[in-house]
Amino acid sequence: MRAGRPLRRRLTATAVAVAALGLSVAAAAQSPGSSPLESVAAMIEAGRLDAAESELRALLATGESPAARDLLGIVLSRLDRPEEAEAEFRRALAVAPELPVVRQHLGRLYLAQGRRDEAAAELRAAARLQPLPRDLAMQLALLELAAGNPAAAETQLERVASEHGSVRARMELARLAAGRREYDAALAHLRSALELAPNSEAVLRAHAEVSLQAGAPIAAVWTLEPLARMHPDMTDYPYLLGVARMRVGDFAGAAEDLERALALDPDRPLTLIALGLAYNNQKRFTEAREHLERSLLLVPESVEAAAALAQAEEGLGELERAERRARRALDRQPGHPLAHLVLGMVQMKRGAYDAARDELLAAIEGDPTSVKAHYQLSLAYARLGDRASSARHLELYREALQELERARIELNTRTGAAGSGMRP
């Protein structure tokens, strides 16, 4: 999940900033036996830090009080005297090691100083005593992740997600699940994030990306369609929408989306290649060639672009050129299914059915759901007199076609595309 990394960085930065400012005076003042400290707490809130320090020191001179030490620690950290603050928190903990707020305050101090390991240790201890507040729980989760403890991180994140209705926590949980290839779990987290933030670009995008990773293009279209509508300046969304549509065989719809993406960024090789493939599948070979040639000017090493261009050339009847290009693509990336398919088609046109069969079998090995490869292979076997194999691949072709058709109907239903034309 690409969105996850920068998100995490932002989270960390935000939490450090919060930690620097967020030492809770009220919580400290309300610690057991601290009610006489309320006037000091009010002084701190009013920014009268020097006076508060004097008052606290006077109080502590009359007898030990962990709550007073905690408050003094807060005052000192606000006065930018972190070493002294740390010492006061430590002394408070020495007297009352079970006071969770002191550990939280110490954890915040460490976070503000960038002492991540020590912060993690204090926050873990604090979390054992009582649930952490939302921001610290998120911080601890991120610290656990950085320390390579994803299970501990998830515990914190689950709690923040369920108790605080946090979308951030759900996004992190989804990222972790997607990283383990547990796409159903990731999508479940993202769906609950979408319930809370249905219009968030980050959440919609994460849902689309995980759906595509999970091989669920229809679910991806469901979130990419609103993304493309809400963010018309972004190239990614119509591009991904086009890619998702292609995966369910909606090449005309894909071409429209990809043309939109290309209008936003005319020099994006990925868009040019995808558009070339969409055109190829609509037998618009001349347009496909034009776009694919342009893509090769930008990324001459792209095997995908070369194979797609070979397909366009084959479609235009330029068999020699198509064959040369497809073979070069295979030199660079052996087993490339589209390159094998192109060679199979070329051999079919030449009547070299043995060679065609071999290429088409290789194409199917790389892409077992290729409708075209199964169809051509059934023809090749028929020409070679192998009726059983021909029938088998014809059946596989029909199955693949039906699967595409089913997906296309589902896509149309979910996006409303079926309603765009007149009734059949």
Binding site: A197, V203, R414
Partner: protein, 750 residues
């Protein structure tokens, strides 16, 4: 527009607004604040922001935008500005993930604007997404019927009813559809079921009216009598029965109609339409004295006052009370000329020509009878103008009213939904101001959020909305300028930055940003002027450099020389500085010094911007085309976005007889800079040379528009027009060419 609908064009507005608001399912109930969803979402967004949940904050801001634009669209639709309402709904659709309500609202606007096909496309998409959305599918049926696809509309309703057999509203609409298809036998069981499931008097009233509207008068009578049987005091039952008698039987049943209207008035003595129809029917049956009372009562309502005055005038005229008739008819004429009139059901209808002529004719008669023939004459003349010398018969008028009324039930009765129509003008204005302010706030906050993510184009779009909604929004123009600047849209950034600067004239940061926007947008003279007085310039080498660049590029190279000498003394290894020095030298014709500076810049940094391009430019001027080509290609390889270099390379290619390469470069250049007059001119010239006359003309016309004072463009445009056989236009261009040339020589001489 369909002439049959023309009269209803304006009328549709109140209905449209009702229905539009209906589309906003989930909108607040009538008693609630219409802007509540907007303000609630804004508050939720701000809370989420404080809780460090930016995803929720963004989502809520977007909800606020959707709710705000929906409300704005509804307000606009209510004032009849359907075009701007449609724009507002489009913005609502682009604001949030769920666009259902915005699309339904757009469809309703399309329906009200007589574009039912467009409405049907929008609604079909929604219906395909959720086939169980009965509201959408019912509206789709309306759209289909309005587009003339009655059979499809009925089929749609049949499907909806099959999905939700207990939806009595659908059942009723379907029955109406069958009746419109002329299939009463299909409608009857549905209406019978409706009556059985809702056996109230009101149901029979509705059924009776529906039968009446489709000219099944016996069935209408039966249903309406049934309604009265259940509730003898039911409003409108006698009224409909009266209209049934008039529509069904013609003149012979007028007395029965009168009896029903009287019975209706016993229940509702002040009902304007019943009083009007009773009055008209009494005039029709020549009971003029009796007609006066109901007609006078009908003059009190805007629904009926125009026609009530007219028929009152006629009754008075028949009773030889000519003076009073003049007063009543004059008032009727005034009202007819003021505004269209609300017809039954609240639908405005324009007064027809024949009725207007009739009104003039009757007034003329009344004036003559009251001894004022000279005053009567102009009214006779107006009546004659309209070829309506005889008054339209009362009977015809009455029938027309009733037809207007029956045409209301296009596909079921008007939907009764909460509206915001109850507001007076001041309340409406206050609401609109609140909506604007809320939208501006949401757009601004969301724009700032996007800018922080580095998404400057998206931010600029939102911030442009902010200043459009509230031009003086705090920091609005400034933020828009900054977003545009960061998006690399320098020329666009200058206008909002200028506005912001006008608000804080002493702000040096703002002035500096504006200067840099001008500089990057090739507004060198403006940049130089702004930087000249910048207090920080003397101590800031970057600003000095920018100032120097601005001077060089605004043809003030000599002034820049000193400045650069000082700068170079302190910054000898600054490659960009050597480039600008080279450019300054080239500008003054010292190509040798220029090349030396540029080569030095490239030694310091082989990737430094504009060094190769400037060398290319110098080599071009020296006619060393192959070398120029190489330098410019090197520039573009390192900086593919340098459109100036691309254009110059195209020029070199053209001079070097490589038109295909030149065209390819120019097309790409024009994709990036569609307003490049030089690019259009050169492409047009090349195309003209190849004989692609129409294509050349297209480019040269745009070039002439962009650079109207360029004589070369005029000349080439003249050539293209001449070759296309458009001699006169060509001559005009050649004349413009000569004039511009002469002017240029004069200014050179001066």
């Amino acid at each position: 527009m369909n002439p049959a609908r023309r009269g209803r064009g304006r009328a549709a507005l109140p209905t449209a607004a009702l229905t539009l608001w209906a589309a906003l399912a989930g909108a607040p109930a009538r008693s609630e604040d219409p802007a509540a969803p907007l303000t609630t979402a804004l508050t939720a967004a701000e809370e989420a922001f404080e809780r460090k949940e930016p995803e929720i904050a963004e989502s809520q801001y977007r909800s606020a935008l959707r709710e705000g634009w929906l409300l704005m669209g509804t307000l606009l639709a209510e004032t009849g500005d359907l075009e701007r309402a449609a724009e507002a709904f489009e913005r609502a659709a682009g604001a949030a993930a769920d666009d259902r309500r915005a699309r339904v609202a757009q469809a309703l606007v399309a329906l009200e604007s007589d574009r039912p096909d467009e409405a049907a496309i929008l609604l079909r998409r929604l219906a395909a997404r959720d086939p169980a959305d009965t509201e959408v599918r019912q509206t789709l049926a309306r759209a289909l019927a309005a587009a003339g696809n009655l059979d499809e509309a009925v089929q749609e309703l049949e499907e909806v009813l099959a999905l939700a057999p207990d939806e009595l509203e659908t059942l009723f609409f379907l029955a109406t559809g069958y009746l419109r298809q002329g299939r009463p036998e299909m409608a009857e069981p549905l209406l019978t079921r409706l009556a059985a499931e809702r056996p109230q008097a009101e149901t029979h009233l509705l059924i009776g009216r529906t039968w009446r509207d489709h000219a099944h008068y016996d069935r209408a009578r039966t249903a309406l009598r049934k309604a009265l049987e259940i509730d003898p005091g039911l409003r409108r039952a006698h009224y409909y029965l009266g209209t049934v008698e008039l529509l069904a039987e013609g003149r012979g049943r007028v007395e029965e109609a009168i009896a029903h209207f009287r019975a209706e008035l016993a229940v509702a003595p002040d009902d304007a339409m019943t009083n009007l129809y009773l009055g008209i029917a009494l005039v029709e049956s020549r009971q003029h004295e009796e007609a006066l009372g109901p007609l006078e009562r009908a003059t009190g309502s805007p629904l009926s006052h125009r026609d009530a005055h007219q028929f009152l005038g006629r009754a008075l005229l028949a009773l030889d009370r000519a003076e009073e008739a003049v007063t009543a008819l004059r008032r009727a004429l005034e009202l007819a000329q003021e505004t269209p009139m609300a017809a039954p059901g609240g639908v405005f209808v324009d007064l027809g020509e024949s009725q207007l002529s009739s009104l003039h004719y009757q007034l003329a008669l009344a004036l003559r009878r009251s001894g004022r023939p000279e005053e009567a004459e102009p009214h006779f003349a107006r009546a004659r103008e309209h070829s309506a010398r005889l008054a339209e018969s009362t009977r015809e008028t009455l029938s027309r009213y009733l037809e207007d009324e029956t045409s209301q039930s296009a596909f079921g009765p008007p939907l009764q939904f909460p509206t915001i129509s109850g507001l007076d003008a001041a309340q409406r204005e206050r609401l609109e101001r609140r909506v604007r302010a809320g939208l501006a706030r949401a757009s601004f906050d969301l724009g700032v959020l996007k800018a922080r993510e580095g998404r400057f184009d998206g931010a600029a779009r939102l911030l442009a909305d902010t200043v459009e909604l509230v031009p003086d929004f705090p920091r609005g123009a400034y933020s828009l300028g900054v977003a545009l600047y960061n998006a690399g849209r320098f020329e666009e950034a200058t206008a909002p930055l200028e506005r912001a600067r006008a608000g804080s004239p002493g702000d040096p940061v703002l002035g500096r940003m504006l200067a840099l926007a001008h500089l990057n947008g090739e507004g060198y003279a403006e940049a130089a002027e702004l930087l000249e007085d910048d207090p920080e310039r003397a101590s800031n080498p970057s600003l000095q450099y920018a100032y120097g660049v601005a001077l060089v590029r605004s043809d003030r190279a000599a002034e820049a020389a000193d400045l650069f000498s000082r700068l170079i003394a302190d910054n000898a290894d600054w490659p960009e500085l050597h480039v600008v020095l080279g450019q300054a030298a080239a500008q003054q014709g010292d190509y040798e010094a220029a090349a030396a500076s540029l080569r030095r810049a490239l030694e310091l940094d082989p990737g430094v911007a504009e060094a190769h391009a400037t060398l290319g430019d110098i080599l071009l001027r020296q006619g060393r085309l192959d070398e120029a080509e190489r330098e410019l290609e090197a520039e573009l390889a390192a900086h593919p976005g340098d459109e100036r270099a691309r254009y110059t390379l195209a020029l070199v290619m053209d001079l070097n007889r490589k038109p295909e390469e030149a065209k390819r470069l120019l097309r790409r250049h024009l994709d990036a800079r569609p307003r490049s007059a030089d690019g259009r001119y050169l492409l047009g010239k090349i195309l003209l040379g190849e004989g692609a006359l129409e294509d050349a003309l297209e480019q040269l016309e745009v070039a002439a528009e962009l650079a109207p004072d360029d004589p070369n463009v005029r000349y080439q445009l003249g050539q293209a027009l001449q070759k296309l056989g458009r001699g006169e236009e060509a001559a005009r261009q050649f004349e413009a060419f000569r004039e511009l040339k002469q002017a240029s020589r004069r200014s050179e001489g001066a």
